[in-house]
């Protein structure tokens, strides 16, 4: 089912959670709402579910206005960050709950419910512990029960609020891949909220970057990563070195930095911020007298197959981070205390 969000705003006291936000979600899509905590992404999800009501604006599901529809009537599956399993019910009863509370006229016979629950438990690979209680399960298992419970009612849309937020890194990665496969199998329209850019980029068909109650950018994971619309999106989607400066004469200027900007009129001038990912920066040993951004190497540490460098230079608030291949770092014999010349291989400039 498609979802249309039209000019939705929501205020909590003095805090503006959502600010005139509009978004179209297509049938069968898996969408990630990505943003820092407090950006309004969870509020938006709760509004789609009907757990919160917007101050202004509308939510349409399959063209039908559901803004004033009660939660119970919306037929959404909602997966909570902390699972929200019914702690006094077994796994089986948890999953069966949504089927059993239906009005008598719509309720399926007990045998059918049992079969359906067993099928779902098999789908999420926990059928062998259907008579356990939630606190006898690990976090990953609980979240899969929560997912089975949400899917049991055959929801029109599946909404997941930081579904893997409370799990450890390894389980999280497995579940992520598993969710993607499950979605490909069931293709129910799904929206999930996350603050983890890696998760959003890995799992979603489209990523919606949200900040301060507004949408900063919508696009495929490749699009938002390779072509961030603005400084916020760039810095939120990965490690970023920031340089404050200005553009003039067809180039970006910052202390020790100069970067040509092809296609820019020479008389065009304004303040600007430039970003470079750690792996976009190159370093070489500083030879006195050479122009460029010279910085002191203060720390060197391993990151997998690569080596991370932390460099400081005068006038910088944050150290520069550079990611190098290990053999390059070995060859250059890099040690803390050395002065290095930093050269951006590529630089992304946003004018202000």
């Amino acid at each position: 089912m498609s979802i249309q969000i039209r000019h939705v705003s929501k205020q909590f006291g003095n805090f503006r959670a959502l600010n005139d936000l509009s978004l179209d979600i297509d049938t069968g899509e898996l969408i990630a709402l990505l943003g820092p905590s407090g950006c309004g992404k969870t509020t938006l999800l709760r509004i789609i579910a009907g757990l919160d009501t917007p101050d202004t604006g509308k939510v349409l599901v399959q063209g039908e206005d559901t803004t004033d529809l009660a939660v119970q009537k919306r037929n959404v599956g909602f997966v909570f960050q902390h699972y929200a399993l019914f702690r006094h019910m077994t796994v089986f009863d948890n999953v069966a709950f949504g089927l059993r509370v239906r009005p008598r006229s719509e309720r399926r016979p007990a045998k059918e419910i049992r079969e359906r629950v067993n099928r779902l438990l098999a789908l999420v690979q926990i059928d062998w512990m259907s008579d356990r209680y939630p606190d006898q399960l690990s976090g990953g298992q609980r979240q899969r029960v929560a997912l089975a419970r949400a899917l049991a009612v055959e929801p029109r849309v599946l909404l997941l609020d930081e579904p893997f937020g409370a799990l450890d890194a390894k389980v999280r990665k497995d579940l992520r891949r598993w969710l993607r496969r499950l979605h490909d199998e069931l293709s129910v329209t799904s929206v999930f909220v996350t603050h983890d850019q890696e998760e959003a980029l890995e799992v979603a068909d489209r990523v919606v970057v949200v900040n301060a109650g507004r949408i900063e950018q919508i696009g495929s994971p490749d699009e938002v990563y390779a072509h961030p619309a603005n400084a916020f999106v760039y810095s939120f989607l990965g490690a970023a070195n920031r340089f404050d400066g200005h553009v003039s004469g067809g180039a970006f200027h910052a202390p020790g930095l100069w970067h040509p900007m092809p296609g820019m009129a020479p008389e065009d001038a304004s303040r600007a911020i430039a970003f470079a990912r750690p792996h976009d920066l190159e370093v070489e040993h500083h030879i006195p007298g050479t122009a460029g951004l010279s910085a002191q190497l203060v720390r060197r540490y391993a990151r997998g197959a690569n080596v991370m460098l932390e460099l400081e230079y005068e006038g910088a608030d944050n150290p520069i981070e550079v990611e190098l291949k290990r053999e390059d770092a070995e060859r250059m014999q890099l040690e803390p205390g050395q002065t290095l010349l930093v050269r951006p291989g590529s630089l992304r400039v946003f004018r202000q």
């Binding site: 909570f80 709950f97 949504g98 512990m129 949400a150």
Partner: protein, 315 residues
């Protein structure tokens, strides 16, 4: 509190033997001096003149009337507080509204006001010289010096018991399960019945038991509004006082022993509830251990804090 868990003695939590013995002796001595000895004394005094006198003191018409009245008053006040306390705790824990803090403070008020003052409030309201007194007299309604007054005063002093027991527990449990039930299509009533109530039932039971104990034992507030009409408006505590003042010690102690017995039954019920709950925990723990040992290492162990918090709530 957490009887379901095993206590592991380590160097960090083991005191020298003399400290342990001293602490135990102090605790037990205190209990003996202030709880056991008085209770035993009440029983001994009650039975001093033999069983016949004891029973006679209990079946005497005034005593029987007092017992019936006490049961009646508790029977009205406790269910009322059960409903009110649950509703108030539900509202406070699950919803955001202005005036919430005021409501919490008001719920605690009966604990901080002297019961005598609580009684006087009703005299001021319903007494002949009170605000509503003349109107009540005109309509031939009796509240003061009658059962309604006793019930009102008892309700006032027992107001906080159920609500206080539930509020912190419900706040700790949060809204997630209720919201999950709603998204799954359950109505508000069904959600309360199938999701909220099972999560709070032990705390609710504790609250009701304590509320009942206080309702039966209340003296101050009830004394002010009762009017001390023998066989009509005397509850058990008031009856005990009258007997005592008339130097009928054996009878006074007999009725007092019955009151004390009610209190003991209350405490025993509470302990039984906890035992049931702990039994459930222990069974679940055993099931988990069996399951874990047969399971691969892929399953990470489960934090016990959920159980611990529930046990805590009962304790």
């Amino acid at each position: 509190m957490a009887r379901g868990q095993t206590f592991v003695a380590t160097r960090a939590n083991t005191e020298p033997w003399w400290v342990r013995i001293a602490l135990t002796v102090i605790a037990l001595g205190f209990l003996a001096a202030f709880l056991v000895v008085p209770l035993v004394a009440v029983l001994v005094e009650a039975l001093r003149k033999g069983w016949a006198t004891y029973l006679a003191a209990l079946v005497e018409p005034d005593a029987l009337a007092a017992i019936k009245l006490t049961l009646l008053v508790a029977g009205i006040a406790v269910p009322f507080n059960l409903v009110f306390g649950t509703a108030a705790a539900w509202a406070i824990a699950k919803f955001e509204f202005s005036g919430k803090q005021l409501l919490i403070t008001l719920i605690d008020l009966p604990f901080s006001v002297s019961p005598v003052v609580a009684g006087l409030i009703y005299v001021l309201l319903f007494g002949l010289q009170g605000w509503l007194g003349p109107w009540l007299a005109d309509h031939d309604l009796k509240i003061l010096f009658a059962v309604p007054g006793l019930v009102l005063a008892t309700m006032f002093v027992t107001f906080p018991f159920v609500a206080r027991e539930l509020i912190s527990l419900m706040q700790a449990q949060g809204n997630d399960e209720e919201e999950a039930a709603l998204t799954l299509g359950a109505s508000g009533l069904r959600t309360f019945w199938h999701v909220t109530l099972p999560n709070i039932k032990w705390a609710l039971l504790t609250g009701v038991i304590l509320c009942n104990a206080r309702a039966m034992g209340e003296f101050g507030a009830v004394s002010v509004v009762s009017g001390h009409i023998r066989g009509q408006t005397n509850t058990m505590p008031l009856h005990v006082e009258i007997l005592y003042n008339e130097y009928r010690f054996a009878a006074a102690f007999a009725v007092a022993s019955l009151l004390a017995l009610l209190a003991l039954v209350t405490v025993a019920l509470k302990a039984f509830g906890e035992w049931l709950e702990d039994g459930g925990v222990a069974a679940a723990e055993r099931a988990k251990q069996v399951a874990d040992s047969s399971e691969s290492a892929a399953t990470t162990s489960v934090p016990a804090d959920a159980r611990a918090s529930r046990t805590l709530a009962v304790a």
